[in-house]
Amino acid sequence: DAGITQSPRHKVTETGTPVTLRCHQTENHRYMYWYRQDPGHGLRLIHYSYGVKDTDKGEVSDGYSVSRSKTEDFLLTLESATSSQTSVYFCAISETPRDQPQHFGDGTRLSIL
């Protein structure tokens, strides 16, 4: 399995608090992605990174920010969490954006009360 670690695996927090999720990889892949998974929606891309300090928005980026200061770490931040951001969050990595399949972490289950 690809070396991807997400932390924390579970988190419960209150509306309005900041939350940061971490994705750590040991594969030295250039591309990293954050998705959210909600019932009936499959996975939807939040943000992605194509290198250190290089990031771009995905389909559902409102309310989220990301940072990548090292190849191995990609952080997802909810500046002020809302109940609509309750979801399961997945990190993924890939060597190239097209032909290589993305490898996924085991997810972070985030509940915002």
């Binding site: 991807i4 591309y31 499959g42 996975l43 939807r44 954006p97 097209r98 032909d99 399949p101 972490g105």
Partner: protein, 114 residues
Amino acid sequence: AQSVTQLDSHVSVSEGTPVLLRCNYSSSYSPSLFWYVQHPNKGLQLLLKYTSAATLVKGINGFEAEFKKSETSFHLTKPSAHMSDAAEYFCVVHSGGGADGLTFGKGTHLIIQP
């Protein structure tokens, strides 16, 4: 633009019988297509991928899929279902060559009856 439609939200089959999970796609470019499986409380695992080589693609655990350009379909099949196949399956498309990730179908929940 690209999109994926998984035609069944739930599929139920008996153990030992064939499995068919249907997927249609649309893409402005020659697509790469994937099937992923997700077991409960786990991340997604790649089953197989099509990237413009052979149209019949063989994957892990006895699964295969056929790319049919004329029908814009990429259906997933398995000759004989096993109880361990019970999971959520996602059809996924990537086209355009950009680094903007994959477009996922909404998933098909496969139920295996004993």
